[in-house]
């Protein structure tokens, strides 16, 4: 059996395909040129092949997102890499006040197809300024949509979906995923299968082989996949608690309505995420779920986030702050009683 493609390879292939197929595509970012190929190697080989449209930039996050907005304004499809998603904070003005607003503030719809890629999240020991999950800070901005990489969603499809919105998009890429394998052919492992639903968020549904209605539905962004599946596995094997996992590709805008039939099959719902607690994506989902399923649920939506804390560097401290598979499992066990 051939080894599955790694997520970073899939992403790299998606960027190659974009530049090959779309003459208006650009890739811009810090240290992205060959032979270095980007801090996480997502851009390897791009500049050798497309030297004019792959632009290695100065350390200038606000500047390059502004440049991307200018390229988008003139009909191009730029993809910008933030070396670490934490630095998207430096581009917040361009995203909030220029790129997203330009879609509507001139009284007519202005096409602004652009993507800001954000290597995200912790568990790699990079410390407080290189490990955050900043999704929550970008939620609720009109015409800015947020997507998250997952091992179920082919990155070429995700890039196409984002650019076809003709609005600025952010792609959050959990850094721990890069070295993992992409899932293919509907199989996760011996116990779990998956399918892609055709709701607007292109949600992946992960479910145990041979299972009716599950005890739990877990909703989580792509970065949590591995931890969620690990918790689901233990729960199934050790406690006979069955869980399904829903991983939307698009986190925002998000509406739970197209998924109601799927989620209402369980009487317990959990939303898990890696953002520091409070004011999060999970809270937005929980609110929507309560709105629709209040009477059917056995208990309020279980919301699991990282601690409301900076993310420490030392492995044991970092481990305790971020949401881990064990904590996820423990919380689900307790809430199953």
């Amino acid at each position: 059996m051939t080894r599955p493609e790694r997520v970073i390879g899939n992403l790299n292939r998606a960027l190659h395909k974009l530049l090959d197929d779309d003459p208006r595509a650009y890739v811009v970012g810090e240290d992205i040129a060959d032979p270095y190929g980007g801090a996480f190697k997502a851009t390897r080989g791009l500049s050798d092949r497309h030297p004019e449209r792959v632009i290695s930039s100065p350390i200038s996050e606000g500047g390059i997102v502004g440049v991307a907005a200018g390229l988008a304004l003139t009909g191009n499809h730029p993809v910008v890499e933030m070396m670490f998603s934490d630095f998207a904070a430096l581009a917040f003005d361009q995203l909030l006040n220029f790129a997203s607003k330009s879609v509507s503030m001139y009284g007519r719809t202005v096409a602004m197809g652009m993507v800001v890629r954000c290597p995200t999240g912790g568990n790699r020991g990079y410390g407080p300024t290189h490990s955050q999950s900043l999704q929550k800070h970008f939620i609720g901005i009109p015409a800015l949509s947020l997507h998250e990489m997952s091992p179920f969603h082919d990155n070429a499809d995700v890039l196409t979906a984002m650019l076809s919105r003709e609005q600025p998009c952010m792609l959050f890429e959990d850094k721990t995923l890069y070295t993992r394998g992409m899932h293919q052919g509907g199989v996760v492992d011996d116990l779990f299968r998956y399918e892609l639903l055709d709701d607007p968020s292109r949600t992946a549904r992960v479910f145990p082989v041979d299972c009716g209605d599950p005890d739990w539905i877990i909703l989580a962004p792509g970065g949590l996949t591995e931890r969620a599946v690990a918790a689901m596995r233990t729960l199934l094997l050790e406690e006979e608690v069955t869980c399904e996992l829903l991983v939307p590709s698009r986190l925002y805008p998000f509406t739970v309505e197209p998924l109601l039939e799927t989620v209402s099959r369980a009487r317990r719902i959990c939303v898990a995420e890696d953002s520091a607690a409070d004011g999060t994506w999970g809270e937005m989902l929980a609110q929507q779920l309560h709105q629709h399923l209040w009477r059917r649920l056995a208990r309020p939506v279980l919301l699991l986030s990282a601690q409301p804390s900076v993310i420490p560097t030392a492995a044991h401290l970092e481990h305790a702050v971020l949401l881990q598979a064990t904590a996820l499992r423990r919380a689900l066990t307790e809430a199953s009683q």
Binding site: P58, V67, G70, L73, M105
Partner: protein, 323 residues
């Protein structure tokens, strides 16, 4: 090259050319078209202030009184395919490019026929290749991105971005200058140095000089002290032609004067500073120098603007189909 024969949109470059002079020189006689544009802008701005004082406008606005000659002079050197990025003080830029006081006033008043349906208002306008926005410095990196596109897709065309002296406090300016010079982008940065930012005199907000800052990036710089439309064009035409054929950024600093308030009634400058600015105002200087031409043109534009105000004010409210 795409712009081998640029269509001049701000008037003509052919007029009697006087010798180089400073801000106090007698102003050259202008073709009627240029004088009319200058006066259209002047009377537009006066009308806006008047409407505000009558409580007929909502929100805020920044007039370019005293600075009208900058876009009128400059845009004769531009092509319709060049991009213009304007800022908060952009009525003169818009009118010099489009000569459309109805659309602009309707935008400011939220009336039918507004350029952006009343969503953008005074500071946020997008039409063809003209765009303004209200966050200081933000548009420089965007203009650099547009220049990057033009360099590749439409060689010969340039992106022009207007900023004030105070906006040199923003980091985005330097990020953009760095990339523009590094990547040789055809970006013209027009600095309208009116020696004040809102209430803060330049010497209280800027260390060093704009010239030295441009030099630090190795970017070409030109200082314009003249308020004479003909002279300004003469000084800049070669430099602008050059960045079309040999793409690179250029910083042009205009020493100019803000004759009016920052926005509406908020002028906190000492009386003698305001008097000094008023004494340099091209409007009176031109009128004294060329009284006959001026009197007729001034009267015509004043009357025309009164008609614009009356007509636009009578229009129904603008509508916005929000998606």
């Amino acid at each position: 090259m795409a712009s081998a024969a640029p269509h001049l949109i701000g008037g003509t470059t052919t007029a009697t050319v006087p010798p180089a002079r400073t801000g106090a020189e007698p102003l050259s006689l202008l073709p009627a078209e240029d004088l009319d544009t200058l006066l259209m802008i002047r009377h537009f701005e006066l009308a806006v202030l008047e409407l505000f004082s009558q409580g007929l406008l909502h929100g805020t606005t920044h007039t370019c009184l005293g600075q009208e000659y900058i876009p009128v002079a400059l845009y004769a050197l531009l092509d319709e395919g060049d991009y213009i990025f304007s800022n908060h003080r952009g009525h003169g830029h818009y009118l010099a490019r489009f000569r459309d006081p109805h659309g602009l006033l309707a935008e400011i008043m939220g009336r039918e026929g507004a350029v952006c349906h009343g969503v953008g208002g005074s500071q946020h306008i997008y039409r063809d290749r003209y765009l303004s926005t209200g966050v200081q410095g933000e548009s420089l990196p965007v203009a650099a991105g547009v220049a990057l596109h033009l360099r590749r897709a439409e060689p010969g065309r340039i992106a022009v971005v207007h900023i004030g002296d105070g906006t040199w406090g923003e980091g985005a300016v330097y990020e953009a200058l760095n990339m523009a010079q590094l990547w040789r982008l055809p970006l013209l940065v027009v600095v309208e140095n009116n020696k004040i930012a809102q209430s803060t005199p330049t010497e209280r907000q800027m260390a060093g000089t704009i010239q030295a800052r441009a030099a630090a990036f190795g970017i070409r710089y030109h200082h314009v002290t003249s308020h004479d439309v003909v002279q300004v064009r003469r000084e800049l035409s070669d430099a602008i032609a050059d960045i079309r054929t040999r793409p690179q950024p250029l910083v042009v600093e205009f020493s100019t004067h803000r004759v009016g308030p920052h926005s509406k009634g908020d002028d906190s400058r000492p009386a003698e500073v305001v008097r000094h600015a008023a004494a340099r105002d091209w409007y009176h200087r031109y009128g004294e120098r060329h009284p006959e031409q001026f009197a007729v043109a001034d009267r015509n534009q004043r009357l025309a603007m009164a008609e614009v105000v009356r007509e636009v004010q009578a229009r129904p409210a603008s509508r916005w189909e929000h998606s």
